[in-house]
């Protein structure tokens, strides 16, 4: 005897509607592959490439609380804006973010990163200078590598001083694809 999809969905919706979740998440398809998207009551808190769901939910539970449940509805606004972005109908995300999981320095760098405009690139060193830690280009690289909300926080727009793409936690092909989508790829010396 198994739980019917309708009964299952009804519970998930009720749980989200009752405000009982620390984190709601869902999977959503995109041109850069399957994404796991997670939100708290404060905002978007995670986007993961190639998600291993069990591992992702455990990370989320550690960071935000154990009441982590898959539920479609809380994710809908994010899904909609991502679709628009990938359809080139959106150049800026309008979503509240929850960066509680990040350390203070990371948060500061990620907030700077959020202001790098669509279709443009910056460098690790420039972000370090903006964060008033000019020596910290490498640390900025680490922050980019651990960016909890890629795409929306555009770490794909951060490249090396010589214009090379350098690296991307989601894989260089994805970085290239996102920059091409934004028409930024010509600005780099590939």
């Amino acid at each position: 005897m198994t739980v019917s999809p309708a009964l299952d969905r009804r519970f998930r919706e009720a749980a989200a509607a009752a405000g009982l979740l620390d984190v709601a998440y869902d999977l959503t398809d995109s041109p850069v592959g399957m994404l796991l998207v997670a939100t708290t009551d404060r905002g978007l808190c995670r986007i993961s490439f190639d998600p291993i769901v069990d591992r992702a939910t455990e990370d989320l539970a550690r960071a935000f609380g154990t009441r982590v449940l898959r539920a479609a509805k809380p994710i809908d606004p994010v899904r909609r804006q991502l679709d628009e972005y990938f359809d080139s109908k959106r150049t800026q995300f309008e979503l509240p973010l929850d960066l509680r999981g990040a350390a203070p320095f990371s948060r500061q760098v990620l907030r700077r990163l959020a202001r790098v405009p669509y279709g443009q690139v910056t460098t690790y060193g420039a972000l370090a200078r903006e964060a008033e830690r000019p020596q910290a280009a490498r640390a900025v690289g680490t922050v980019m590598n651990r960016n909890p909300i890629p795409i929306v926080l555009p770490c794909h727009r951060v490249v090396g001083a010589n214009g090379s793409l350098v690296g991307y936690a989601g894989g260089l092909e994805r970085k290239e694809l996102l920059l091409k989508l934004e028409g930024a790829i010509d600005n780099t010396l590939l």
Partner: protein, 152 residues
Amino acid sequence: MALMRMPPPFETFYEENRDAVLRELRRLLGAQAAEDAYQETFLRALRAYGKLRHSDNLRAWVLTIARRVAVDQLRRRETSPPVAEPAVDKRPAYAELGELATELPRKERAAVVLRYGYDLSYATIGAALGSSEEAARQAASSGVRRLRRRMQ
């Protein structure tokens, strides 16, 4: 330090226990009512889950919640007698028995209905009523005696 281990993400807990919870609720309430109780059970579990600081016996924990929800629902059925009766022959045995037993004290009535209407074991009834197997047996038998006396 197994005792101090945090419970798994609710999603994992839910996936591992939902079928067992539904099975138990159907046994106690029938297929229809089990669906409402299912939702209520997991909402109650979710409410308490954030404060759990262990991951021991989560199956037993959630089944206890399910039984409490089932008992609450049976009590609600008792306190709101049906106004318009459906055709008698379509009603399940527990409904008829429940009506017959309306005048019994609450605990006796629950025991009689769960035992003879749902065919549950005294151990399960005891767990559902928050008492022992022996107490459930006594409540059911004194309920039956009372019913007999009344029908004479």
